[in-house]
Symmetry: C2
Subunit: 383 residues, 2 copies
């Protein structure tokens, strides 16, 4: 059989949105991932101001967007660097000009460690460890490349995912970092993803305090052992307000704050801080088979639904009932509220991170006019 697949990429290139600066919102084909620049920029400023007020660094999580153009704007506003979750993702951001990248994850396997070492010879790389074998392999890969990296011991403060379970285990790893070549001990990573999404403001504050107390146990063990622990990195959008003020974290890793998906949008944010929805999937109503039903042309391949259904921000009398592979089913309270056949509907995705990862580009709008089209260059880079 001839290699027919080779025909496709050219075609596919021609199937991109074709959106250009100056285009009207109404002219965009759907589904399109769109970013409201005014809301986005306000969100960036809000979090940066919060971090600076408390004297902590902001290191936004680039896994939230996988878009170098967004990361560069976060850096320009004062962010310390970015977090990436994967080495290939980090390589993409390094190529785009980011100079200080923290891989907020354990890296296991020879091809990944070799790429990490190559990156570390070009930009400042830090990375997590929670296992002696992983640390030894990291050190060996860096030594082979003649590169150096900063190492953070990941500690489990209640997330029950990765990370060492006791201060003694953390200390053993930190001491090993000091012994091994080409690695430098930089501190600990303490991230609790679960508490980011606790709905109540006061409950979230208490959860953040409990997490901070767990971190303090680790810091005391380091102090008793006479080990310096310059960096405590962690926190997220949901608890940033409390984490920044805790006196425990030196660096906040929030990512979703720039976009505010529907899951985060349902939190009680209290009075002190507020983020706006900036990220939407623009859709077209492709079927109105009954008086109350409207079906749009974006489904699971355009927005992520594992953290809950999308919201219809511009139509209060309309709720999303289901998301299928290529359809979203909307139900109106009454006939007059139902979006019209052929009309455009914006959806707030349930979860921003995997939604960005479904798109090759985000169309950036100032008001109702396209200002830019930013490639989501690290889309699909999960190795």
């Amino acid at each position: 059989m001839t290699e027919v697949s080779s025909v496709c990429p050219a075609v596919v290139g021609g199937l991109a949105s074709g959106a250009r600066p100056g285009d009207a919102l109404d002219a965009l084909d759907t589904p399109s991932l769109i970013l409201d620049l005014d809301a986005f920029e306000e969100n960036l400023r809000t979090m940066q101001v919060l971090a600076e007020r408390h004297g902590v660094a902001l290191r936004p999580h680039a896994k939230a967007h996988r878009c170098p153009d967004i990361a560069l704007r976060q850096i320009a506003l004062g962010a310390q660097g970015v977090c990436c979750q994967k080495v290939t993702e980090a390589a993409c951001f390094a190529a785009a000009g980011l100079r200080d990248i923290h891989i907020s994850n354990e890296v296991v396997g020879a091809p990944k460690l070799a790429l990490l070492a190559r990156l570390a010879s070009q930009v400042q790389i830090s990375v997590c460890v929670d296992d002696m074998r992983g640390l030894e392999a990291l050190s060996a890969a860096l030594l082979a490349q003649g590169a150096h990296a900063r190492v953070l011991v990941e500690v489990d403060i209640g997330q029950k995912r990765c990370g060492v379970q006791t201060p003694e285990a953390a200390l053993a790893l930190a001491q090993a970092v000091h012994r091994l070549p080409n690695v430098e001990f930089a501190g600990i990573q303490a991230y609790h993803g679960g508490i980011q999404h606790v709905r109540g403001h006061e409950q979230r504050r208490l959860a953040s305090e409990r997490a901070a107390r767990r971190i303090t146990r680790y810091l005391k063990a380091f102090a008793r052992a006479g080990l310096d622990c310059p960096t405590v990195t962690g926190g997220g959008t949901g608890t940033a307000l409390f984490d920044a003020a805790s006196g425990v974290y030196t660096e906040i890793q929030a990512g979703s704050y720039a976009f505010m998906d529907n899951d985060y949008g349902q939190l009680d944010w209290g009075e002190a801080i507020r983020f706006r929805h900036s990220l939407f999937v623009l859709t077209t109503v492709m079927s109105t088979p009954t008086a109350l039903r409207a079906v749009t042309d974006a489904g699971l391949k355009s927005l992520s639904a594992e953290s809950g259904l999308p919201r219809v921000p511009d139509a209060p009398g309309v709720r999303c009932q289901a998301v299928y592979d290529e359809h979203t089913l909307l139900i109106a309270e009454d006939e007059s509220a139902r979006p019209a056949w052929g009309s455009r509907v914006r959806l707030v995705p349930g979860h921003c991170d995997p939604t960005f990862n479904l798109h090759d580009e985000v169309v950036v709008l100032r008001g109702r006019t396209v200002e830019a089209v930013w490639p989501i260059s690290a889309r699909g880079l999960s190795r």
Copy 2:
């Protein structure tokens, strides 16, 4: 600002898996989407034989895989053509050599209709309608291009998504197709996605029968009006056994049968037909922080979880507890069952369609050796 993003694609190209025919499974980097050719080919034959035994056409749904190399193998075995859900997806399959493509969906909006008309001037295209305005716009777009397309009226047989609600509405659309230029009435599409996933074999059989009775109401109305209805297309993997034998469908649209995700894997399949898991996400255990916990390096960006968690087919004592953006958390029954740090674990994704759409390629294995790497060329083409 310089266009830094333009640096990335070159880098990203270098970040592909790099898998080559002849490579060993054990040499693949992770996460990788992998296909077991023996199981896949057996699944293709099983469904083709079922269709032929009952004298119905098989038109596999390409939205399940978005991979032209897979579609070409389905055609080679005797499939009539393919279904696509989106026009851009159809364009990719047309470029790859598919000559008979059914767009099993309504198409709304000028750019989409213009592309559809261009495609219809090159290959045989059929498409669904459920609205008179949609039909008129389709006819006008085809006329402008000098192209012709076959039209199927979509009828709602209980899915409660798109499709007309009554035989009278279906008849009115069919008669309009006969009046309008450049469109040819080909029949009806009757798809009920919900009943595909009914777990019990007998319950699924009864649901398929109810759907077939609803279709019969439409067919009787067409007969009474003296309208020929040559095609009844629909059905899916879960009900194919019953749909093929129903005497109502002329064409079956199954897609997942080639792969068998974990959702379909949990159905009671009875004795008459059986499909095997052929699609897996290959992962590495990147953290074993406790005696019972193993964390792998594939998350929501490598496998879809909105239809349920993945399964660990090779480790009976291990279950998946959670899928995060870039991690899957596995819990072992006891310490001896826990996958080792650094070991490889295959996961059966919960839902195959959106999982394929997360990957740029699928690595195709004969036993434990790479036989080919197939591009998922229509990945991301949802317009």
